[in-house]
């Protein structure tokens, strides 16, 4: 048994049966990290000491025959956007290079109550702006299937790490696809919960009205297990819903006979969509038909406007959210120690100019422009009205369907450096993921096989270097994570 390859469920069973200890499990992950992470660069910080200490505590409970919770003693990696008390949290930006949060974000607090073993902080695009993890101030993460390719983004480290069996699971965040797209690129499961299902308190903000944290796991069942732990109302985040949190694992096995699934044709007909991705998803759909689901094509004509509306709103909120990085409250980059600072404005300029990377500056510029006097109505207000229309379209679709299935990304993992020159082509990669954030819906990435590459990867960590993973996403109604998890689970059991 290779311990670091286990799922949460398997690891939990092993721990309770005393087949192995949490320290052994944690050490297996740490060993794998030491072996492969120099090449993948999933982690920006490894917290070996903390991890082993937490694991030891759990082992003590197990030895004393105390019952442990399902996540107790399971080692996980955390995207470096989530504040962790006493552990450096940088958003992969130079401007927060030395920031050590004085508190845990609610997601971490809840996971700790569930016995989290924290392996470290995972690489992402700076302030979660990007689609490939190439925008990290600390260098890119590489796709374990082909080290020349991107793992997707922005939770690229979190996804690559689960794929490469360094972490049993990860916590990522999804603003415009940042859990689902890297999960697809790395062949793992990723869940973006409904907006308001999981607390954002203590997660470094980029687009407050889109973001949600969620699990990146090896199986759908594991995603349900993690969601159980992190979901729910939080008095520290007034945008969390007071709706009851069900046990997401309870109905996973309930059959999906008669369930109605819509296939939005605007996604499948888009000319940028790789033909092989399309074929793979149609193969998956056959399995749903076999399982008794009713499949129908539907139309969501507003889809074509999603990217434009998304980027206007995202960059506007970003420019406001990032105004707080002014050099006063957070320890800044040592390099901008203030020799040419004579007044407050100089300090702002020095800090921000030296602290932010290229995409972050571009975002702030774009957002500042669209929010500036004379342009607000034409851009921001217009985009928020389009958002209403997109939401209405989905709500209408869900009157008839239990879920929608569509591709996650129009393309397979691309090569590092291929798209960095032109920000607009990078934005277009998000065409299939951003509508979900605009509408606030939950969506689950489920891998559906591999696609053969023309040329073999020069270097790879997993698989055979000859193929790349492909996935589809299952979009659900607001607060109906149960159904999409159930659909995903049945697919997974069938293949």
């Amino acid at each position: 048994m290779i311990l670091n390859e286990l799922t949460i469920r398997q690891a939990h069973e092993g721990l309770t049966k005393k087949d192995f200890s949490s320290v052994e499990l944690t050490q297996a992950c740490l060993d794998q990290l030491k072996k492969v992470d120099e090449k993948i660069h999933s982690f920006v910080l490894i917290t070996e000491k903390e991890a082993l200490e937490q694991a030891k505590k759990v082992d003590k409970k197990i030895i004393q025959n105390e019952q442990i919770k399902i996540l107790e003693g399971i080692p996980a990696g955390i995207k470096d956007l989530l504040c962790t008390e006493g552990i450096q949290t940088t958003a992969c930006s130079k401007i927060l290079e030395n920031f050590i949060p004085p508190y845990d974000c609610t997601v971490i607090k809840k996971l700790k109550e569930n016995g989290l073993v924290i392996l470290g902080k995972q690489n992402c695009d700076e302030f979660a702006m990007g689609s490939s993890t190439e925008n990290s101030a600390f260098g890119p993460t590489r796709n374990p299937y082909d080290l020349e390719r991107v793992p997707g983004g922005t939770s690229g480290g979190a996804s690559a790490s689960v794929a490469a069996n360094e972490s049993i699971y990860s916590i990522g965040t999804d603003t415009g696809g940042s859990i689902r797209q890297p999960a697809a690129f790395c062949g793992v499961v990723g869940l973006k919960p409904t907006y308001g299902r999981v607390s954002r308190f203590g997660i470094i903000s980029y687009v407050s009205s889109f973001e949600q944290a969620g699990p990146i796991t090896k199986t759908v069942e594991d995603a349900a297990i993690v969601l159980n732990a992190i979901a729910g109302n939080d008095k520290l985040d007034s945008t969390t819903s007071q709706k009851n949190v069900p046990d997401y694992t309870l109905n996973l096995n309930k059959n999906i006979k008669g369930i109605k699934i819509g296939l939005p044709k605007e996604f499948f007909e888009q000319k940028e969509l790789d033909q092989k991705i399309k074929e793979s998803i149609y193969e998956a759909i056959k399995i749903f038909e076999k399982l008794g689901a009713k499949i129908e094509e539907i139309s969501l004509p507003m889809t074509k406007y999603a990217i434009a509306a998304y980027y206007i709103i995202a960059k506007a909120e970003a420019s406001a959210n990032l105004a707080r990085y002014d050099g006063i409250r957070y320890k800044k980059n040592v390099k901008c120690q203030m020799s040419n600072v004579k007044c407050l404005l100089d300090m702002y300029l020095e800090t921000r100019t030296n602290g932010f990377g290229d995409e972050v500056k571009r975002s702030i510029m774009m957002g500042t422009y669209t929010l500036s006097a004379g342009y607000y109505d034409a851009y921001y207000l217009k985009a928020t009205k389009i958002r209403t229309l997109i939401k209405q379209e989905y709500i209408k679709a869900f009157e008839k369907y239990n879920a929608l299935i569509c591709p996650v990304s129009p393309i397979l993992p691309f090569k590092i450096g291929e798209k960095v020159e032109d920000p607009l082509t990078m934005y277009l990669v998000d065409a299939f993921t951003v509508p979900v954030n605009l509408a606030g819906l939950p969506s689950l990435t489920v891998p559906c096989g591999k696609i053969k590459m023309r040329e073999k990867a020069k270097e790879y960590i997993i698989n055979d270097g000859k193929s790349l993973p492909v996935a589809f996403q299952i979009i659900g109604k607001h607060f109906d994570e149960e159904t999409i998890l159930r659909i995903g689970h049945h697919y997974e059991c069938e293949i």
Binding site: F99, I100, P102, Y103, Y195, G196, S209, K235, S238, T239, S241, M302, K304, Y305, I307, A308, A309, Y311, I312, A323, D326, I328, R329, Y330, K331, M338, V341, K342, C343, L344, D346, Y348, L349, E350, R352, T353, K361, R362, I364, M365, M366, Y369, S372, Y379, L381, K382, A383, T384, K385, I386, R387, T388, L389, K391, P423, L424, L438, A439, G440, H478
Partner: protein, 94 residues
């Protein structure tokens, strides 16, 4: 839509950034092409459509202003680069 360098310099000032000439030129080009792309939203008639900001329809939640949990001031101040006598120190305003 073609932005001018002058417009970019104006936004730069609003955003409290200091761009190099090279960056200004690059952003002028890139932002122009992004603005061109988003222009397509004008095809959609949004008359009488309400804007959406809170997607799940929550409204302001009011609570009593009571202190329940306090992070130690000292711990918070440790995040700041320049502190004196329990205050954050900044350069002179002008």
């Amino acid at each position: 839509m073609q932005l001018t360098i002058k417009e970019v310099e104006y936004v730069e000032k609003l955003a409290q950034l200091k761009l190099t000439d090279q960056e200004k030129e690059k952003f002028t080009k890139q932002l122009s092409s992004i603005l061109d792309y988003v222009k397509q939203l004008n095809e959609v008639d949004t008359k009488n459509i309400e804007p959406t900001n809170q997607i799940i329809g929550l409204e302001n939640r009011i609570r009593e202003d009571e202190i329940e949990e306090k992070i130690q001031t000292e711990k918070l101040l440790q995040c700041a680069p320049n502190v004196e006598n329990g205050f954050i120190k900044i350069p002179s305003v002008f």
